[in-house]
């Protein structure tokens, strides 16, 4: 059982095999993401009841929280893949880590912008320099720093290693984001979802909320896999199968 699992994992670490077996994963996660997000956001916008204190502005939660969750989860994934790349010298981990950066950065930006828009009617201001907002801004800057490091290096392998180290150092920011609403006095409301408590949300809001989170994760999975496939083609242009694949992609267009 364990050996079968290890063998399955090892298949995924070979760029060529990854390229082949990731294709159906992209297809099915895209289909599921579109279906789930369509239901979740329609439900959230049209059918979920109005919130007692915040009125209709709370409907921003259906994109704000999923994008904030994802921006942190993707960062953690980049750091773990960087560690895997540094320790076990698995090239594919570096490729995937690099291509996750734009996705994570766009999610951090989305969380910040929707938070600012939500802040205006709720707090009366677009922005405050409090712990939660500032640590999320630091997360966005970490993403931009990772991307800049990749582009600054002459050799891509150096960029991989430098970005992996920065990603690992930056992990310290994740608990700061998570506990910022507990450790400091902040305008930002505390976490809505806690593992130890029942959510303080009516079921008719909770279901589309959880669905939106799942939908965003599935979309990010599809984007991450397809970007990693492109990174393989870009990094290994001399492999025969890569040249054949590019021939085929070029002639299909």
């Amino acid at each position: 059982m364990w050996q079968a699992l290890v063998r399955w994992f090892h298949r995924w670490t070979s760029p060529k095999i990854f390229y082949q077996i990731s294709r159906p994963w992209i297809f099915w996660s895209s289909v599921a993401a579109i279906a789930i997000l369509a239901v979740a956001l329609t439900w959230g916008l049209v059918f979920a009841p109005v919130e007692r204190l915040q009125g209709n502005s709370y409907r921003i939660i259906f994109i704000h929280v999923p994008s904030a969750f994802l921006s942190q989860a993707i960062y953690l994934a980049i750091a773990i893949m960087g560690l895997v790349g540094l320790v076990w010298r698995i090239k594919l981990a570096f490729y995937a880590a690099k291509q996750c950066i734009p996705i994570g950065a766009s999610m951090a930006l989305l969380a910040l912008v929707t938070g600012a828009i939500w802040g205006k009617p709720t707090w009366g201001t677009w922005w405050v320099w409090d712990a939660r907002l500032t640590s999320m801004l630091v997360l966005l800057f970490l993403y931009l720093g990772l991307w800049a490091l990749h582009n600054a290096m002459e050799r891509q392998e150096t960029g991989d290693r430098a970005a992996a180290i920065l990603a690992l150092v930056g992990v310290v920011n994740l608990p700061i984001i998570k506990f910022s609403v507990v450790w400091w006095n902040t305008l930002h409301q505390p976490a809505t979802l806690k593992l130890t408590q029942a959510p303080p949300m009516h079921i008719s809001m909770l279901i589309p909320f959880l669905m939106a989170i799942v939908g965003f994760y599935l979309a990010a999975l599809a984007w991450g896999l397809s970007r990693t496939r492109l990174e393989i083609l870009q990094r290994e242009p001399n492999a025969r199968w890569v040249r054949e694949e590019l021939d085929q992609l070029g002639s299909a267009r």
């Binding site: 930006l109 992609l249 070029g250």
Partner: protein
């Protein structure tokens, strides 16, 4: 429709419409970015590959 009395009620969202719709517009832009930017990378890789093939034939 839904919890709203009419479509114009839905758009207005009791005065919060501008905030809600602006947020969803930004979300749409981010989703479009994530779909379009890999397409552009893919097209660039294909044209680089074609250029390289032409160079090698000469």
């Amino acid at each position: 429709m839904g919890v709203f009395e009419s479509f114009s009620d839905f758009m207005a969202m009791d005065g919060h419409g501008i905030y809600v719709w602006l947020s969803y517009a930004v979300a749409t832009a981010v989703i479009v970015f994530n779909i379009v930017s890999p397409r552009l990378l893919r097209n660039r890789l294909i044209s680089e590959h074609k250029r390289r093939l032409r160079r090698e034939q000469r």
